[in-house]
Symmetry: D2
């Protein structure tokens, strides 16, 4: 057997949160392609997300986005989710789609706009209180397009002030996770562009403020697993947004562009204590299925993470440490590659079956008829997307 | 005087084509901000473009985009433009917004979709015949997001076939210019990703097929002026799409991100015979004014090109050649930098006035009241953007 | 069995040329670390290279570099190699280490320096005539560090002229392969920086001039397999220099940085007819073992290529084509990933044994005592490196 | 007058430290070109550095590098410098050229090697005590080339421990500045790759540990002025290593590759209080003059910094703040560009003359005959470089 019993045991508790918006339409500035069966409501998104969990038992919770998932009764939405076997997870704020935010939100030079953005986060915390969500995720699109357009330094100070106000509103069991992003939608400077900035900002807030690492939000060539190791070491890795990219923030399926990088990232997660029941690191997907089917796209994604975690858990760490101490470069690298090249899929399929899950979740979902059903049922209304 | 009489003489005939779509709304996949006064029709876009020419005498023509600028009577549109002192220029095709093109257009595996895309180009040529436009510009968004999604090689062969059919339809005085782009909207492979591909494809077509170089469409670190020099040497530089970028295809104002790069590009244009009355190289803008005002954004852009051309024309080429031959690295570089650091703005302002133009076109436009007028007049309707 | 009989049959004739210089010392501008047993002579390099072939049967030839491998009698060197079971392959020229080449070689503004560089290539052709080598590989380090230092356009014209003179000297069965490189050692412009330039230059020479693709010589994010597909389509892919990189031209072990990229490259090689007995594409390594052991580093490298070729040959091309035609993005991608994730190592080990080779060449070499022997024997003299 | 009296006053105290090694030979891994007159001793390097100050009054101190500048009597070396009008500045350690450091120095898995590296820094502090230097600069080349080669997390912990030991040895008026670098000489992971890591490490040490920002040590596209603003805000910007780059760590003349970037960096320095008599930020050059003359290369460099500082000081900050508050994107950007495009050279030349300096230091040095004299005098011996 390629995958050890111990590895399987450790995989049992793996949970990867799904983003509700992955089930809606997405695209580029050039075109958003629509697809039959796309959800029109938060409930339909959650129903689709529940399918992913049904076939994989890997995604017991769904992140929501305010206002994209705005409803009148969040407690009812939570009960709806629970009836489908999932819970509501991280609440994501949105300060990039109101006309008021053209020149910034939490960093805006105008205190009224800043307060509006702070109030929006208060609203998100209210939602969290209703849904029982523990994490408030802040991805800040703030930035400028031209040198001189904004005062980089002043914006950073205002950001610190705004975040402090939001942080003060959090409950005792709630966290704020601050996501960084290299660029886009701003094209000259971004106010939280790198892990260092997110780290400096959340460190100033307190213990329940953490960094969110989106795997697609780095400069070309960045060694992401190094950042993982560093943030775990500093006790500030709050959560992951998984996806993959060849160029910019492509938001492709996690593991699709550079599977070996995903392996190395997961290895450092495990190495640094970020994996397992004692870890507080949250694992999420944040992807766009622009041209592929969305539910299978999410199934493929959680399976990719599961399979790669199995490989990363399989590294012979004792032999690796020995090779590292001996300065045996090829030997140490070979131990990593052995684990990476191991084909864990057969063992995982058998293990899934032993747990009452389909051996091949992709095939099982395709055979379920769910996609055809929603394509037939969901007629009329407005398909969900980023604008709604 | 910093700018020589000879340089001023050479600047007289400078013409930079404006894209009609620069006057409509644009943005990112996250948000398109609208602005008061944004045109609702092709006519209103042309009217705005004519303002740029009125204040600068630098932009006598306007590129149109089909179907964004679709009208019933192109001849009438041309007369409308001429009444405003401009002409209609390059016709840009669009094969990226129809649902049929989700998996490609000219490269699509399905011959019916390919024919649909070819027919669209035939339609564009029909428009050219009515407007008297000489250039058909093909920017191909075709590509794939995942390894295996498409057959890279087969798509290239089909592209060649499709382009041949389009090329065959061109009139004797018409050209096809094929734009390349590193990535976006496709995130794994793009069918025309680099100048080499565009060059190979247009070389197979014939003398009237040329490469279009968009300054924002390259990998990080690419030496663009080298490509300019090479394409001029090979006789295949058809046109420029000017803009600037810090990261990806940011589409910022030309010269805004790296003015020295613009200087070097224009120097190689001049060095290679691409500037002046005998050149067939077409100069265009292709930008997005996501957060700044659009008409002043275009005025600023053509002025940037004019000012940088003045600097590039000021290089002491005799001294430069001598320094190069002598292996005088610092001397040769110093000659380039002398021209770049020369402040040509005062001389150009005086020269503008001598030609009956405002010394400061930005101020003159602001003082004209045009922006307030269109903001007041253009009420109702749907503001133009990329989707319309 | 994971690897099919047909795949094994196709693997039988695989040959990957080794660079003699991989067995000498290499490093960075900061430090070259020396290691016990490093060859002092061309003969010792060839002896080490022969070990790689002895344990893998994958590397029947050795590329040499003039003047690093300069000897009095190349025919004797060839016989020496043959006695060890290998042949001499590609001859690599060097026009970057003579003081005369500070400002260029084949592109130099001074005709005397150009002639010196051309003469060096004539000398290389003389060597080829003695060794029976078929390929003359030209990697041109020419370029400039500062804008203005050289005349980009003029240098390109002189390059064309110099190459034409070299090409004219080639025998009927000899080829010139022109390698491109994004940057380094020049830091502003490089005279052959991209595949387009190499393609344009070799196309002007004739049928026996081809492009050499070094996998480490591209801008960040470049889709290398696209270039492979394009060059094969254009009939101009002459050879590969295999290595891998995370940042610049890191010259790491092939497949070490991004194994999935190597898979995609080899898939396109096979797809485009570049693999197998009818192909004229030459496969070489070009790597630096700065910190790892050199002979095992080369063994690991050829095994990486072999294993990844086995995976690439395993792609179900019929199913893939069907999925591509159906627009089944996830299905098509899944077929690629299935092949990539297949663990071919057990089958290849068995196959090796069936051919009288060690199942695990790395272990077998380690057990052979060769490394200890050369460390003990090669005392005194000057270890080979790039300077010698 | 373009440059205001206030700006000139602020320029009076500008000081840019020169690196002694800039006067020795440097190059790439492919070739180090030597030049007539290159120093053979620390004294000769200092003599050359003093020439830069003599002609510019901009570089009153010289950084030294141990062991490249090892002498028996540092006090005597200091007096020698003072006789030439300069002082000894930052002491740079070197833990990348001893064979013991092949797999790391301060991060090495072997405590003996770590202690050796710590001891080397103690030696550097001893030198500082003799020279009166205030800054100990640590650039750590530590890293690995292959995944698995080292334990990223453990290395980081060991680094913290080693740095703490070094920091404890510092005198009350001494600082430790920790330089970060994206990559090279390590090609997979670097132990101090980004500002975040340097910031986290120095923050753990204490008030006298600071970050060193080398302008060439970032991923492609990184907004360096943002980092400047952030580090100043956090009170942790210790020093600059100025140079410029198009690709990797090219170490070209500061301002040569992207003068506008230098302008933006200096603007943020001034904006954040990093410029002027109250600032503790140290400004240094760290460049390689591989193909250009070294003394003029350094003169050109300090002039570039001076001229660009003059431009950055000329920004109309009151108007800029007003435009920023008004959301006037083009206006705010225009204010920045106005300052950047101002030609300050004539005013600075006049100001230099008023202070008894040559109007054109490049010309004055060329006319001085110094280069010819050292070329004639410095015969024999071994030219200084990175290996000595």
């Amino acid at each position: 057997m390629t995958v050890s019993t111990e590895t399987l045991r450790l995989l049992e508790s793996q949970a990867i949160e799904l983003p509700s918006w992955a089930f809606g339409n997405s695209g580029t500035r050039f075109k958003v392609f629509s697809t039959p069966g796309t959800p029109r409501t938060p409930e339909e998104k959650i129903a689709d997300a529940a399918q992913v969990n049904k076939f994989t038992a890997l995604s017991p919770s769904v992140a929501i986005h305010i206002p994209w998932d705005k409803v009148d009764d969040y407690a009812a939405l939570g009960r709806y989710a629970e009836d489908l076997g999932v819970t509501l997870g991280t609440v994501n704020s949105n300060t990039f789609q109101d006309d008021a935010y053209k020149f910034g939100s939490l960093t805006h030079v105008d205190p009224k706009v800043r307060q509006m953005a702070i109030d929006h986060h208060f609203e998100c915390i209210d939602v969290m209180n209703q849904t029982g969500s523990e994490d408030l995720k802040v991805w800040l699109a703030d930035g400028t397009n031209y040198p001189g357009q904004g005062d980089i330094r002043g914006r950073q100070d205002r950001l610190a002030d705004s975040l402090a106000k939001i942080y003060a509103r959090l409950g005792e069991n709630q966290r704020l996770v601050l996501e960084y992003k290299f660029f886009e939608p701003a094209f000259y400077h971004t106010d939280v562009p790198d892990w260092g900035t997110s780290y400096a900002q959340v460190s100033a807030l307190g213990d329940r403020a953490m960094v969110c690492l989106d795997t697609g939000h780095h400069a070309p060539g960045t060694n992401i697993e190094f950042i993982v190791a560093q943030l775990l070491r500093l006790g500030k890795l709050g959560s992951f947004d998984f996806n993959s990219r060849f160029y910019a923030d492509d938001d492709l399926i996690v593991g699709a562009a550079d599977p070996f990088q995903l392996f190395r990232i997961l290895y450092e997660v495990i190495r640094g204590g970020g994996y397992g029941p004692d870890s507080t690191v949250a694992f999420m997907l944040d992807q766009c299925h622009n041209v592929e089917e969305k539910i299978p796209g999410q199934i493929r994604s959680v399976l990719n993470v599961q399979e790669m975690t199995a490989r990363a858990l399989s590294v012979d760490t004792v032999a690796l440490a020995a090779a590292q101490e001996a300065g045996d470069v090829l030997g140490a690298n070979g131990i990593m590659m052995d684990a990476f090249y191991s084909d864990v899929r057969t063992d995982l399929a058998a293990w899934r079956e032993s747990r009452g899950l389909p051996a091949d979740p992709m095939k099982a979902f395709a055979a379920s008829g769910y996609q055809a059903k929603i394509a037939a049922d969901r007629v009329g209304g407005t398909q969900a997307g980023w604008g709604a």
